[in-house]
Symmetry: C2
Subunit: 208 residues, 2 copies
């Protein structure tokens, strides 16, 4: 799919930002943009933008720049936007409910097919038409359905255990909101959202 293997994490983390800014430009009917202009918008150097994009292909044209709509689509394809991803969400607490309710992720292609929780009070309830099932049914559910992703919103203490069930159930990625570093096989990708650590980083900077 990509031109070169082993694109660095630094580059990958910047791609969604390009995608977002280009989406804005598409919305504003901007047809073309140079790396210089885009760089000024985003706050990157033109050089960095060209280097980043050239990890994936030659999307520009000398003397012209980049076609906004085309580049937006290309980056979308690179990131995997548009494909459908079946996900299960585990832990219907504060964060879990927020994620399940947040419609923005549907645009990316995320579809939450089932929600699980250990709390009997929550089991049977529905979030956006998706029923909350008992966590004990997770293993069986994963056997009977092809699930790409697990969204992990359980308390720290249960996170690794639930993670193992997800991994054994065949998920290829875990979006982890639990404050812990999960142990998974190399084939499974983990993306962490560690809110406490984010907050601490902010607090540190505020104290300077």
């Amino acid at each position: 799919m990509e031109k070169k293997k082993n694109v660095s994490m630094a580059v990958i983390k910047r791609m969604p930002k390009y995608y977002r800014y280009l989406g804005e430009l598409v919305k504003n009917d901007v047809d073309r943009i140079s790396s210089k202009e885009l760089g000024e918008k985003i706050g990157f150097t033109a050089s960095q933008i060209r280097q980043d994009l050239n990890n994936f292909g030659d999307f520009g044209q000398q003397g012209y720049g980049y076609n906004v709509k085309e580049l937006h689509n290309q980056i979308g394809t690179i990131l995997g936007v548009g494909k459908e991803y079946n996900a299960v969400l585990i832990g219907a607490g504060n964060i879990g409910q927020a994620i399940a309710n947040y419609s923005r992720f549907t645009d990316i292609g995320l579809g939450i097919t089932a929600i699980f929780d250990a709390n009997p009070k929550l089991v049977g309830m529905r979030i956006r038409d998706v029923e909350i099932k008992d966590i004990d049914e997770l293993k069986e559910y994963l056997e009977e359905n092809t699930i790409d992703m697990g969204i992990l919103c359980v308390p720290r203490i249960n996170a690794q255990k639930v993670c193992d069930v997800l991994v054994n159930g065949g998920v290829k990625g875990i979006w982890n909101f639990a404050p812990i570093d999960l142990h998974v096989p190399e084939t499974v990708k983990v993306e962490n959202v560690h809110l406490s650590e984010s907050l601490l980083t902010l607090v540190y900077q505020m104290n300077k």
Copy 2:
């Protein structure tokens, strides 16, 4: 406060992780640890750990290693744990409510003193004993109270506008959950939690 000025972002982002692991060790009554052992636990090199810590002081002892409890406290102090931070939360939607409800941040010293929303249906409701006020009252509230931090959970379209009110109201930091890069003066620190970008990063990695 710190030994050297200008600690790099790469280091700062790792500090909360040290703090978390050391907190675990304290809980497990571990008295001392060497950079080698800690490195194996976290997945960093011993060298990196020593380099990182020496940005802030000489916390170790040759031939012994680090006193776990002491190092945990020291890093806590560096990060600013324990101090009290007054915060307002703007946007009581999915994410906003989740953050307001999440008690874990209280441990760090975060106290949400008021919540604001534009939706009249939400105004007057309470989340954990904190009343949701009308967004129009934000400016006045900030004039009458000393607020350190704004937690921004409003839709993208309103984010910069609300951000400006927060900045003029004297906040020193903004924890931003809106999918936008905010423009603020240099004195104000912004920490972004861009969930869509996090999800896209995961999706990209899953497709490899």
